[in-house]
Symmetry: C2
Subunit: 238 residues, 2 copies
């Protein structure tokens, strides 16, 4: 854990446990949506409708987790009235789970599109364009969740920086799909669906980046959103 | 103001003012992003590049407002340790401004696409498909912000219900654009751009719906996210 973060050692052992439980709940939700994105991509690439349905069905559980964690944080805020880093932890959790829930929504989109693409027939195993982007995004998400677990600011900053690469990959896919559509207008519908999936993946990357910004906020007490990387590094060194 | 919400009358007049200021900041940010969406749509429909640039440039101000309000709420939480409805107000503000900031991001997308479409030449005044969706979304956003100002749960529930209509309009536009692309593949690039704009507008509607859900949470103390309208009405009557 990063040296700058001293989650206050509380006289109440119970309070320590509550904070640790809240953090664990976030990690659990993170693991769940990461698996959901992973399965959504797999369902798409392998035209696996059973897996696609599983991804869609998991949405309810993810949504319920968000509500439970929110409720838990509100209760801690009300009963414990935390200050300083404990308060920042609560706020960062409330923000993080919003992004996790939306990552779940994007995974559901992958699942739904996998079902529709398999309805349209045949085309399994041919979305090479998506595989690379998808695997990249899942790696970023996994790294973001690990950085969250370890409160690792340095890793968080690296991840924020690498989000640009995902945007570039997304642009490349879009260009490729436009060319495909122009060459064969019968492919338009399918290409559009793939482009929706690429957009969903790109948004997962955005949410992972948001989570990393909350890590910096939590550990350093600085709000680095909407700041350039150079400016972020300067700010947290102050 | 809804009868169910009793923002506690505090002995400290200063505390009352702080809460009221925080609410006003949210309203100010809301007004700003509503104007941004309005201008983004106008820039698009009228191929007004000057206005489009204005929309893009406003992003910085919206982002800064989000950071300022967040900071302000954190300080109130730390210093005043609010409970009950005051605590819910703080949490609902922290959540609402995230959605407002993302509405601003969607408006910027409208502005950027307006610039690109005008680069591609001529086509001004022909995106009738977008006009209707855009005006509908702006109405919903305006109603959501009014419901927020008045803490009007009944209006909030109506708005949540009407989001479905926006999704339908979006689907219609998508179908129309696919037909256009198939008929004339030279139009693919332009049609795709219009479809990105439609998607941005649809997402503004989603965020307006989120804000309405926070209104219900704030006033009724119930988390109604991911709940059907019937279930919501049942829950808040308990």
């Amino acid at each position: 854990m990063d040296n700058d973060l001293h989650l206050t050692q509380h006289i109440s052992k119970r309070f320590n446990e509550e904070l640790e439980d809240a953090r664990n709940q976030v990690m659990q939700m993170g693991g769940l949506v990461e698996q959901q994105v992973r399965n959504g991509l797999k369902a798409l690439l392998e035209a696996d409708t059973e897996l696609a349905n599983k991804v869609v069905d998991l949405d309810e559980q993810v949504n319920q987790l968000e509500i439970d964690i929110d409720e838990n944080c509100t209760q801690i805020l009300a009963r414990r009235q935390p200050a300083a880093s404990d308060l920042r932890l609560m706020i960062s959790i409330i923000k993080t789970i919003t992004d996790l829930e939306r990552i779940g929504d994007e995974a559901v989109k992958l699942g739904r599109n996998a079902l529709k693409l398999s309805d349209d027939g045949k085309n399994s195993r041919q979305y090479v364009e998506l595989r690379h982007l998808g695997e990249h995004v899942i790696t970023i998400l996994n790294q973001a969740l690990t950085a969250y677990a370890r409160m690792d600011v340095e890793d968080a900053l690296k991840i924020i920086q690498s989000d640009r690469l995902i945007d570039e990959e997304f642009d490349n896919i879009s260009r490729l799909l436009i060319t495909k559509m122009m060459e064969d207008p019968r492919e338009i519908k399918k290409a559009l669906r793939i482009s929706w999936c690429a957009r969903a993946l790109e948004r997962v990357g955005d949410h992972a980046k948001n989570i990393c910004e909350y890590i910096v906020y939590l550990v350093k007490g600085k709000d680095v959103r909407h700041t350039s990387i150079e400016e972020m590094r300067r700010q947290i060194q102050d």
